[in-house]
């Protein structure tokens, strides 16, 4: 890169370099510490008896036989555990009108979804607890379940929580510009109903928690695979009647999260409550079936969309009506209204059209709870927007790339905003589009598509522009009254040999938070990476902060690390200046050595600075105190969110006889601002794309009309696997945010945001000769054959 030196262009900078992650070797050696691995003395294993019904009154629970089971420590019903754990209500004040009912750690008198825990069995081993769980006799009176979101608001459908009056959890409407006028003056109007299957984020390591109430010090230590330890500290304290200072949450290695592990799960609360009740460590590790019926689900939207377009390709309006079903409770504390809210915020986001009308309704059902999963709302908004844009292009006979290039917000239009009020600092839709066009050889593919069609081979190209919410400020949760911190803190200290220890409030679940923190600190300080050790995931031993979610790690925690590193460099140079009798401003640190600024002339090693500071302060002036620890916190304030943008493309083949889809290639050009570690960014994009492709083709939590999940195993719930994945080529445009010195925005969710949208568009493009439009995912062979009218009969 050319141009003036930025503050990032430090001697031996690691910013923008692919370096191995510091935790990699430990993990591949099998020396990670996952909660599932941990054992404490006197530890009990809890197994939950779960409701087999989607909706049922609990008439009676007979625990007598189970209590006699071999190795059983305790059998505790939901009603009994109320003594230890108070219920919660998943609402936020800034989501106006959002309502939900109190949810308990275990169902007390009514189970509201298949899989809700009603009774806990604690035993010396998991197998013993499972044996005893079969002896618990629960008498249920089955109630009518509410399963179809389309009818959930109809008068003849039962209301799940009578005290709420109806099954409507949340509704939001928005009307910007002159929508009716735009539609009436349009040259063409296209509309469709988009259907998104319910799916979930299948983490390699299931949810796991080990709670240890120590009556001796009256403290609860919870080892948990969570993305937000400080949030959990607050929640455990609040509902177990403790002070926050009495709770420590430790989050060691975590085998994947994807947003699944940022929520408060009833069974995890029950585990902590059981530890308090039994005064001993209690561990819960969800098995795969439990994961499928209790890990939050996501998506499950039906969204009607309309688009107005002029013959010259100008898109003049979008209108949507979104409906989603969230299970029986709004999830705590982030709520289950955020996804629908995001859909309203994001539809049409990349485009110039100023006329936009939206309505979203969120309804309760007797199915597993729904909440935020990677790219919350984005895949819905992106699929609806991009699907409509393709329909508009088809209606006026324009090439899909051309219509985008005519309507995407111009790269020189910033700062600007969207009709829904989103503020954009600086996006690069056109630069991204141009880069994508060249990377994929768009014109070449179009020619190939045409040639192959003559041979009866149906290939399609799908495009999807997107924007992504990253670096959320307090606007996301804090303003709504949730004690979820949007700021992060980092402490950096130099020890007595010149080695650096970093404590950060970020957490690591595999995405590389540890690596990026080390890179940023090493660069800010001027030391080599091997000198930096990062500590994270412990409320007793890190500064207070949000953790890792919503694509915030690099942008927020990274900036705090940068500022803390810089502050410690100043502190070190003050000590060095004092020792060398020069002004700190004349000095710098390079490769762990104090040098004359702008040169590599060595003045004094950091080990020597540390030795003098810690062991020979007597040689320093009496009024000088070395401070070799610096802490900084950071939160964005100017923009509520740092939006990123990009565009994806899919190239695929549809077998029109079998309905099978073969993904041939996938491209993603994205702009996450400053790139700290190119490989980490690329793999975030690729991983995100894969999850989006899973949604497009495979993943689906399938419920029957009684609210029973019919595919709760890895044999029946299809996750995307390597063999079916195309090459995913990643390109970058770099528009740093000027709000922070680092300039980094998030990259964790961009891949998921647009992948399904461009696959669906590519399928419709491939099937263009058959004049069918499919707007439902997952795109199963049956769905495709149905649309083509090709059935065996």
């Amino acid at each position: 890169m050319s141009g003036p030196l930025s503050p990032l262009d430090r001697p031996n900078s690691y910013i923008g370099r692919t370096v191995p992650r510091p935790n990699l070797e430990r993990l591949v050696e099998g020396r990670g510490t996952y909660v599932s691995d941990m054992t404490l003395p006197r530890m009990g294993h809890v197994v939950f008896v779960r409701s087999p019904y989607a909706h049922a009154r609990i008439v009676d629970i007979d625990t007598g036989a189970a209590k006699q089971g071999e190795g059983v420590i305790a059998v505790v019903t939901g009603a009994e555990l109320v003594e230890q754990c108070s219920p919660w209500v998943g609402v936020l004040s800034h989501l106006k009108g959002l309502k939900s009912a109190p949810q308990h750690a275990m169902a007390v008198d009514r189970a509201c979804w298949q899989g809700e825990a009603v009774c806990a069995v604690v035993a010396n081993s998991r197998a013993q607890a499972e044996d005893a769980a079969e002896l618990v006799q629960v008498q249920y009176q089955e109630l009518e379940p509410v399963t179809d979101m389309r009818t959930a608001l109809e008068p003849h459908i039962p209301v799940i929580h009578a005290e709420l009056g109806d099954n409507l959890a949340f509704e939001r409407s928005l009307d910007a510009g002159e929508v009716d006028k735009a539609f009436s003056e349009a040259d063409a109007v296209a509309e469709a109903e988009f259907v998104f299957g319910r799916h979930t984020g299948v983490t390699l390591e299931a949810r796991a928690v080990l709670a240890d109430w120590n009556p001796g010090e009256r403290r609860l230590t919870v080892y948990q695979g969570t993305q937000a330890p400080h949030m959990m500290q607050n929640i455990f304290a609040k509902h177990l009647a403790l002070e926050e200072a009495q709770v420590r949450v430790v989050c060691k290695d975590v085998g994947g999260s994807f947003g699944i592990k940022v929520h408060v799960y009833a069974d995890e609360m029950a585990t902590a409550a059981l530890s308090k009740r039994l005064k001993r460590p209690v561990k819960f590790v969800a098995d795969r079936i439990e994961s499928f019926v209790t890990d939050i689900h996501a998506r499950d939207h039906i969204c009607k969309g309309r688009i107005a377009v002029k013959q010259d390709g100008t898109i003049t309006a979008f209108a949507i009506d979104d409906l989603t079903g969230i299970g029986p409770y709004s999830m705590y504390p982030r709520t289950s209204a955020i996804e629908a809210n995001q859909v309203v915020n994001l539809v049409g986001g990349p485009y110039q059209a100023r006329n936009y009308r939206a309505r979203a309704r969120v309804v309760f059902q007797n199915k597993n709870v729904m909440c935020q999963y990677r790219a919350v709302g984005h895949p819905i908004a992106c699929s609806v927007t991009e699907g409509l844009v393709d329909l508009a292009a088809r209606a006026i006979g324009m090439d899909p790339l051309e219509i985008r290039s005519r309507n995407l917000i111009k790269d020189d239009a910033y700062p600007t905003d969207s009709p829904s009020g989103l503020k954009f600092e600086s996006l690069s839709h056109h630069a991204s589009l141009a880069k994508l066009k060249q990377m994929m050889d768009y014109d070449g593919l179009r020619a190939e598509q045409k040639r192959l069609r003559r041979q009866g081979i149906y290939r399609g190209i799908g495009l999807a522009s997107f924007i992504e919410v990253t670096n959320p400020s307090a606007a996301f949760y804090g303003v709504g009254g949730a004690r979820i911190s949007s700021q992060d803190g980092v402490s950096v200290r130099m020890d007595a040999t010149g080695a650096i220890i970093v404590q950060t409030s970020l957490t690591e679940q595999g995405q590389g938070s540890e690596a990026l923190t080390a890179q940023v600190v090493a660069s800010a300080l001027g030391v080599t990476l091997d000198k930096v050790r990062v500590i994270l995931g412990d409320t007793d031993n890190t500064p207070y902060g949000g953790g890792t979610w919503a694509s915030r790690g690099a942008g927020i925690g990274g900036e705090a690390a940068w500022q803390a590193g810089k502050a410690l460099r100043m502190n070190i140079l003050e000590v060095a200046g004092t020792i060398l009798q020069t002004v700190p401003d004349m000095l710098d640190i390079d490769q762990g050595v104090v040098v004359d600024k702008g040169t590599t002339r060595e003045r004094i090693g950091l080990d020597e600075v540390a030795r003098i500071a810690y062991f020979r302060p007597d040689t320093l002036p009496a009024d000088f105190q070395a401070e070799l620890l610096a802490t900084r916190h950071y939160v964005p304030r100017q923009y509520p969110f740092a939006f990123t943008n990009g565009i994806q493309a899919s190239w695929l083949e549809v077998d029109t006889e079998t309905g099978f889809i073969t993904l041939l290639n996938h491209w993603c050009v994205e702009d996450c601002g400053t790139i700290i570690n190119p490989q980490l960014v690329d793999e975030q994009i690729r991983g995100g794309v894969v999850q989006g492709l899973g949604a497009a083709l495979f993943e689906h939590c399938r419920y029957d009309e009684r609210g029973q999940l019919t595919n709760g195993t890895m044999a029946d719930y299809l996750v995307p696997m390597a063999s079916e994945m195309p090459d995913i080529e990643v390109g970058h445009v770099v528009s740093p945010t000027l709000e922070s010195e680092l300039g980094a925005k998030g990259a964790g969710e961009a891949g998921t945001a647009g992948a399904a949208a461009c696959v669906a568009n590519a399928v419709n493009d491939a099937l263009e000769p058959f004049d069918v439009t499919i707007t439902e995912i997952p795109l199963t062979p049956s769905l495709i054959l149905n649309a083509l009218g090709r059935r065996g009969g």
């Binding site: 998991r126 197998a127 499972e130 099978f660 195993t713 199963t780 049956s782 054959l785 065996g792 009969g793």
Partner: protein
């Protein structure tokens, strides 16, 4: 989930295995590769009192060949089938099919005998056995018996094996050079059980006097020889001319079932496409 507690014993010989099985009665269960049994145990779908491990029985090991037949020990691992030169030479169908069975880690443990005894309707290997007219050597308390593949598969996870039988060996006639074979399956992900699949063998070279055995799997409750369709192909002036009729006849041969992957109509459509593609491939082999 964890399995119910059970005892475990490894048998050293076939005779010992049989007597352990007899002694265990209802509560006994054979385990070979464990790749179907252990998931069922962990889901608590089965609760045997004792597992009798036959994975290392010498009588169940080995791939041999004589002048007319190739003999596959029931304990042959999928991975061994995949790499055996004898299998490649004399029963190429099986070697093509085995690549579609599960994933490498599972193929390293799973056995042919376990697969056939398990009789998953979507499994590749039972269909191959019917297409290849294999014979199963079974040993039970009353001695040995031989069962033709076509009589072996009785329904969903159901075979001609009694609870105290052990499948010992599978014998398959060596394919003459002019015999053509075809294997294809439609699975949404590599390694999954098929949504629909076809193993097909064609004997003979002249359009008249061809003998064609199309066996479908993943469609009904067991692998199914589509004999009506086969007749349409065999009796046509040339097989391609009989294709349309054969595709129609599939509705007599097959009773497609609905499951999570596909409904019955989709399956019938897929079966017809598989038949067309299979026949095209077989005829192309003759020209090649």
């Amino acid at each position: 989930m964890k399995a119910y507690a059970f005892d475990y014993v490894r048998a050293a010989t076939l005779v010992e295995a049989l007597s352990l099985l007899e002694r265990a009665g209802e509560g006994g269960k054979l385990i070979a590769g464990g790749q179907s049994l252990v998931p069922a145990l962990n889901l608590r779908l089965l609760a045997p009192q004792i597992l009798i491990d036959i994975a290392q029985l010498p009588e169940l090991r080995g791939i041999t060949s004589d002048d007319t037949h190739i003999h596959l020990g029931a304990g042959t691992r999928h991975a061994e089938l995949a790499t055996s030169a004898l299998v490649g030479q004399h029963v190429p169908l099986l070697q093509t099919a085995i690549r579609h069975v599960a994933h490498a880690a599972i193929r390293n443990r799973g056995t042919l005998g376990g697969n056939l005894a398990h009789a998953d309707p979507a499994s590749e290997l039972p269909a191959c056995m019917i297409a290849l007219e294999a014979t199963m050597l079974v040993v039970g308390p009353k001695g040995e018996r031989r069962i033709d593949a076509i009589d072996f598969f009785k329904g969903l996870y159901e075979t001609a094996l009694e609870a105290d039988d052990i499948l010992v060996r599978i014998s398959i006639a060596r394919s003459p050079a002019e015999t053509r074979v075809h294997f294809n399956e439609l699975a949404r992900r590599a390694g999954d059980y098929a949504m629909a699949g076809l193993a097909m063998v064609m004997h003979g070279t002249q359009p008249q006097g061809l003998r064609i055995r199309p066996v479908f799997f993943g469609i009904g409750d067991r692998p199914t020889l589509a004999s009506h369709a086969a007749r349409c192909l065999e009796q046509a002036a040339d097989p391609m001319a009989g294709l349309a009729a054969a595709q129609q006849a599939l509705s007599q041969d097959l009773s497609p079932q609905e499951d999570l992957q596909a409904d019955a109509d989709t399956r019938m459509q897929l079966a017809r496409v598989l038949l067309k593609r299979g026949l095209t491939d077989l005829l192309a082999q003759g020209r090649g």
